[in-house]
């Protein structure tokens, strides 16, 4: 399966890739519009929508009061009418205020109304810790939506992935939680200039290896790749699988990788208890990969703590490269 941009030379940041996806898609489809707090002149809290107001005007780059419930409701209603709103939640933490509209309305209308209406909305939100924003501005809340049928969850890790997946998400006829990561915004990577979509539900093997599989998404992908480089020097070859979308999940790619290596470490930033890692672990354990497992399925995830303010504590609360190295090494050597 070829991915777009395999030979791309042009380097663009993750943040610019998000903007590019929105701009290009908004040019193509007049029903797409962006809505959120401070997305106009201010250019968005993280600068994602800089320049968009000038091109599309205040109707399509629509600033809102601080009203996450009304924003989500507005997106739901507009989508119900056939528009394709992108709602920006400034910090993923605030999606809790939107939950009623997203969970009880957007996720359910298609089903509740017997398939007679659909809600093609994208809820974009930067998540994650590392900037010292503390407990209420650093969460990764993707797990909350895993358990709500009718809503999809996407968590891209690279500039190329984020552009293609955002385009696909905008075109998808379902409500989608699109989780960006604050620390990823400045990362750069090859991104094709043209408009392209990467289908949801397709994972990517970011690095091949034979000794163990690491399943990681969002910020944990670059950390896992760095850890893999270090471990390669020790003779441990790590395969890194990036699901890219969590719901729908590409179970096949993950399972095949575990069949190959026999050992798997699932990594995410969100706290371990009730996190997406548990879901992936259960999927692996119930699959044919079980017969190939040579060690228990292991998870490495955030501690069960709110994100602390202090820099050292903040680092310690979520997996860092050295934690991944240690965990992967231990797993690779278990019983060897």
């Amino acid at each position: 399966m070829t991915e777009p941009g395999e030979n791309e030379k042009r380097e663009v940041s993750y943040l610019e890739a998000v903007r590019e996806a929105m701009i290009q898609e908004m040019r193509r489809d007049p029903d797409v519009f962006l809505m959120g707090e401070d997305v106009g002149v201010y250019g968005g809290a993280f600068g994602v929508s800089r320049g968009m107001l000038e091109e599309f005007g205040p109707e399509r780059v629509r600033e809102t009061p601080i009203s996450e419930a009304a924003i989500a409701g507005a997106a739901t209603g507009a989508a119900l009418m056939g528009m394709r709103p992108i709602m920006e939640i400034m910090f993923m933490d605030f999606v809790t205020i939107s939950m009623n509209q997203l969970v009880n309305q957007a996720a359910k209308i298609h089903f509740m109304f017997g398939g007679k209406a659909s809600i093609p909305l994208v809820c974009r939100a930067p998540a994650g810790s590392g900037t010292g924003a503390a407990a209420q501005h650093c969460q990764s809340l993707e797990a909350l939506f895993m358990n709500v049928p009718g809503i999809k969850v996407v968590a891209p890790s690279t500039p190329r992935d984020v552009k293609g997946l955002l385009v696909a998400s905008i075109r998808d006829n379902n409500p989608i939680i699109f989780m960006e990561h604050k620390l990823l915004y400045r990362t750069k990577g090859p991104v094709p200039e043209e408009l392209y979509a990467i289908p949801l539900g397709r994972a990517e093997v970011k690095r091949e290896g034979r000794d163990l599989t690491v399943v990681a998404y969002s910020i944990m992908v670059p950390r896992a790749l760095e850890a893999a480089e270090q471990l390669a020097a020790e003779g441990i070859e790590v395969e890194v699988v990036d699901p890219r979308s969590l719901k729908p999940l590409d179970e096949e790619t993950i399972v095949q990788s575990v069949c190959k290596t026999g050992r798997v470490l699932i990594i995410h930033e969100a706290p371990i208890t009730g996190g997406v890692g548990g879901e992936i672990a259960a999927v692996i354990a119930a699959s044919e990969a079980f017969d190939y497992l040579d060690a228990p399925i292991r998870r490495l995830a955030g501690l069960n703590v709110p994100i602390p303010y202090n820099r050292t504590l903040e680092r310690a609360a979520v997996p860092q490269v050295e934690d991944i190295v240690a965990a992967a090494r231990a797993l690779a050597l278990e019983g060897r």
Binding site: G262, A286, F290, D291, Y292, L293, D294, A295, E334, G335
Partner: protein, 441 residues
């Protein structure tokens, strides 16, 4: 049209209601919407209204009656109607709108996964020892072991708590030669009489455990489980008798002292009492074939070979290395074989073939200071010799009390094959041989 008055459903979940009282009487005029009767549900008393204007008739619910939802308890008749009109026009039973939703298929695979784990049945015939259950091993190690016909109980695992990994199985496969698919094994399968489950470990009695803090929990698995199964089988199938006597080991002791040095020189091993015992038993057993026999279906098979099992304790387990064809072996050979078996037993490097197939077992607990004991026959054998410590004891010899090194030996037999007299004769001959070991020459 007469209107039915029914026990109404007034709660989301309600199958019946308790009738409390009528607010109007039979024959009364009632108006639609007027309170007509009271019922009691989970939550409270409720007034139920009349469904129509008319005359109340056919009242049949009484205070205290528990009435199913939708059952008719009265009628409201229009002017000119009577109850007999109603009796003819029974409405058809209105179908329930409840939807029975069957379990979605997404749930079914989970149910299948929860099926209890059993080792795959085909492998059981080929593996030397059945290994179902709880040896710690990873899925891929298990699969590999099954494919290679390796008994996981013998594999040393280097994972936490002895967990066996793929590498351990591969290593084991490299060291040990390919197993013979011993067909004799199958012939020697113990015939399980109907009604006795060979694999039953616990009798069907629920005994409450004591209220005590747990020190450790060890799963009944692997070799321990096998021992347990066999002992239960033996204890509950074979009617045991045991006979004891004491042997004067003076001469045997002297013999040993005399041969110690030369045997040490020839074999590099110390001559043990066990070896002497084995030599003596082998010699005597030939004269008492019923103690060297097995029950097979409805036959008693008297074995020509004497494969002596020497019960050995290794790491809290009981294993029984076998000295094969002991009837042909000299004391020296027995010493050599025994030493080798014991050493490898301790290092856990015995092959399954070496640990099974005995026709008679000797169990010696003398080194632990035990003076006498009884043992359970080791199936499919029919007898087991339990040997105690040599103790200086006062005995009467020629009318005088002297101190002699006495050793208690107890023969336990399966009475289906060996009765008391037969056992006694064997024991008696054994005593004679041990007390005059020169008979062995």
């Amino acid at each position: 049209m007469a209107m039915e008055v029914i026990m109404p459903k007034v709660d989301m979940v309600m199958d019946d209601g308790t009738f409390v009282e009528w607010l109007k009487d039979e024959g009364d005029q009632v108006k639609k919407g007027e309170p007509l009767f009271i019922i009691l549900t989970d939550k409270a008393n409720i007034e139920i209204e009349s469904p129509a204007d008319g005359v109340l008739a056919g009242v049949c619910a009484q205070p205290g009656d528990v009435v199913p939802v939708t059952e008719v308890i009265a009628y409201v008749l229009e002017p000119g109607e009577s109850l007999s009109d109603v009796a003819q026009a029974q409405p058809a039973v209105v179908p329930s709108a409840e939807v029975e939703v069957s379990v979605p298929s997404a749930l079914l695979p989970v149910a299948a996964e929860r099926a209890p784990e059993r080792e795959r049945a085909p492998e059981r015939e080929t593996a030397q020892e059945p290994t179902d259950g709880k040896v710690r091993a990873t899925p891929v190690a298990r699969r590999l072991a099954a494919e290679l016909g390796i008994d996981l109980a013998q594999v040393t695992g280097r994972g936490p708590r002895g967990r066996i990994h793929k590498a351990d199985v591969l290593a084991f496969a490299e060291r040990a030669p390919e197993r013979e698919r011993a067909p004799e094994r199958e012939r020697q399968q113990v015939a399980a009489p109907a009604g006795v489950a060979a694999a039953a470990i616990a009798p069907a009695l629920r005994v409450p455990l004591p209220e005590a803090r747990e020190r450790e929990v060890i799963p009944l698995a692997g070799p321990r489980k096998i021992i347990a199964e066999r002992m239960v089988y033996s204890a509950f199938t074979a009617p045991h008798i045991s006979l004891s006597l004491r042997v004067d080991m003076s001469e045997a002791t002297r013999l040993r002292a005399r041969l110690l040095e030369s045997l040490q020189a020839k074999t590099g091993q110390r001559l043990s009492f066990t070896a002497i015992l084995a030599r003596a038993v082998a010699a005597v057993l030939s004269q008492h074939p019923y103690l060297n026999a097995s029950l097979r279906d409805s036959d008693i098979v008297l074995w020509d070979d004497i494969h002596l099992g020497i019960a050995t304790s290794v790491d809290d387990y009981l294993i029984v290395p076998v000295v094969r064809e002991a009837q042909h072996k000299s004391l020296e050979q027995i010493v050599t074989v025994l030493a080798d078996l014991t050493e490898r037993a301790r290092a856990k490097r015995l092959t399954p073939a070496e640990m099974a197939g005995s026709t008679f077992t000797i169990s010696n607990l003398g080194m632990f200071g035990i003076e006498s004991f009884t043992a359970i026959v080791n199936p499919p054998e029919s007898a087991i010799l339990a040997v105690g410590r040599i103790v200086d004891t006062q005995v009467a010899v020629d009318g005088e009390v002297v101190l002699r090194p006495m050793m208690n030996v107890t023969i336990c037999t399966d009475h289906r094959v060996v009765d008391g007299a037969t056992a006694a004769r064997f024991l008696s001959d054994l005593k004679a041989t041990l007390e005059n070991p020169y008979l062995l020459i």
